[in-house]
Amino acid sequence: MENGSSILYQIKFRKVLFYFLIPILLYLFIVILPLCTAFYYSLNMTTNFTLVWNGLDNYVKILSDDIFWLSLKNNIFIMIFAIITQLVPAFIIMVMISTGYVFKSKFVQSVFFFPCVISAIVVSYLWQIMYDNQTGVFNTLLRLVGLESLQQNWLADPKIVMTSICIPLAWQFIGYYLVILLSGMSAIDKEILEVAEIDGATGLKKSVYIILPLMKNTISVVMLLSVTGSIKIFDQVFAMTGGGPGYASNVLGMYSYIVSFKQANYGYGSAISISMLIISLLLIGVMSLIKKAVSRND
């Protein structure tokens, strides 16, 4: 057996390479090559599809581009809003469900999770329809109870449009984070929680001092997901406002789309994409540094 296994699992690289050829080629064509061409385009201004060497002009332009910074600001707004309205509620609901007091908790979980499996486009359109001025659910409801003054132009008022975009995001993704947190929770030793309860730790105390530190790893995963999710956001903004009114709800993904397709400026669009890539990688780097720092304290 020993002998057999060693022969079985020894294989020449040359032979394996054949199996790996397709995925490696895919990676080259879908990930590496587009990045290289985008970088090349970003250094070459394209006017009427002709390439003119341009140096770092596009990147210099980004630095003084108000719309770019507004878009980045909106991405960061979504990120902060997501932590407050997605992760915190998901954690609270997770604690509630893990008390074991909830009637049919599996059903509750699957209800919360349901919007995550529906496409972002459908969820966004659903909310867009509910936000509608005349026929929307919210304004109609406000009219019915006589609070006409509270009616809003939910998606057309630059002051509140970002909040209006973030609420559906929270609604859609609480269930996602809830499920991840619950699976992290189930890995915690139940005895620790029981001992804590006997010692008088209940409710808030238990969740802050016992559950939170024990779930450090799951929470950092959830944080990372929500941060990267907020940077890459595109579908929801595209569907609900298209970045409008004006550029009030524009985000980076949307901006690179508008510049590339509506203004047909591939050079600048590529520069924005590359900047987006760098910003996401920086954020991932910072997050993993924080994660390392936190776990070193053990």
């Binding site: 296994s5 079985l8 394996v16 990930v31 496409s119 609604w171 987006m276």
Partner: protein, 291 residues
């Protein structure tokens, strides 16, 4: 005696029991109220799909009276819906077959075999996992456009397969690590080839994780929007999510039709959720933790 003993003798004190009772009721009230805010919008969508334009504009809350299939007839009388369904099914199915076959083979070699360059290839795919794919949207379009490959039946497949590979490889790899090697070794001693072991022994063993990979990717592929929008924008190649955007301008006054289109587009996912919701939740959690 000790505190624990006293609790055991008297049971919990009355005060404690009342507190727990109130807490129980409160938690259930909060969660079930929240559940309503999740169920209501979908119910509202469904019953509004059974209205015509006039009924919808009279009252958005009232139940359809009488229910009508006006919106459904309207949608199915146009060829667009069939094309969108075909394109979504085509892209999803072909991608799924490719994702499973490529990631299974790759994960099998990576988890079982020792060869030079193994770590290198593993690292290659791990790095690929880190790249945020949405930053590739415009770059990929530029590349595809210069190769004249946008708006074709081929445009989406390579991207869909590539983006799904890291997660699928990760899931297969971690599953295969739990499978004992003795079966494969026995087969090898009996003279089975590597390919035979892979396809006839390992693949059936991996069936549970294959179904997770299939379900997760079905979900993300069926819902995928941004790449479909950018790479295949012509009417002939539109997938369902892109098809839904065409209702925004054209039928903005005709809400029932828009709503019905949204429901039709989500139907496969909804049916799948009814049967596989446990698996979907498990798979999403397992896939997320890799991050």
């Amino acid at each position: 005696m000790t505190r624990t003993n006293r609790i055991n003798e008297n049971g919990y004190s009355v005060f404690y029991r009342i507190r727990i009772g109130v807490l129980k009721v409160l938690i259930n009230l909060i969660l079930y109220f929240l559940c309503l805010t999740y169920i209501f919008p979908f119910l509202w969508l469904f019953y509004n799909s059974l209205k015509d334009r006039k009924q919808f504009s009279v009252s958005v809350f009232a139940l359809p009276n009488p229910p009508t299939l006006y919106a459904y007839k309207h949608i199915f009388s146009s060829p667009d819906v069939y094309r969108a369904i075909f394109n979504s099914v085509y892209n999803t199915l072909i991608s799924l077959v490719l994702i499973v076959s490529i990631s299974f083979v790759l994960a099998y070699f990576l988890s079982r075999y020792h060869f030079k360059g193994r770590r290198l290839i593993y690292g290659f795919f791990l790095v690929g996992m880190m790249i945020p794919i949405h930053a590739l949207l415009i770059p990929l379009y530029i590349e595809w456009n210069s190769l004249n490959m946008t708006n074709s039946y081929f445009a989406l497949l390579p991207a869909y397969v590539t983006f799904a590979l890291p997660m699928a490889i990760y899931l297969y790899d971690s599953y295969m690590k739990t499978v004992p090697r003795s079966i494969e070794e026995a087969a090898f001693v009996d003279g089975a080839s590597v390919n035979y072991i892979m396809t006839h022994i390992m693949f059936p063993i991996c069936r549970p994780i294959t179904s997770t990979v299939l379900i997760l990717n079905f979900m993300s592929l069926w819902n995928e929007f941004s790449f479909a929008l950018v790479l295949n924008s012509k009417a002939q190649f539109r997938t369902i999510p892109v098809w839904l955007t065409t209702f925004q301008g054209q039928y903005s006054g005709n809400m029932p039709v828009r709503i019905t289109a949204m429901l039709i587009g989500s139907l496969p996912i909804i049916i799948m959720y009814i049967f596989f919701r446990e698996k979907m939740m498990e798979g999403m959690a397992a896939g997320a933790v890799k991050g």
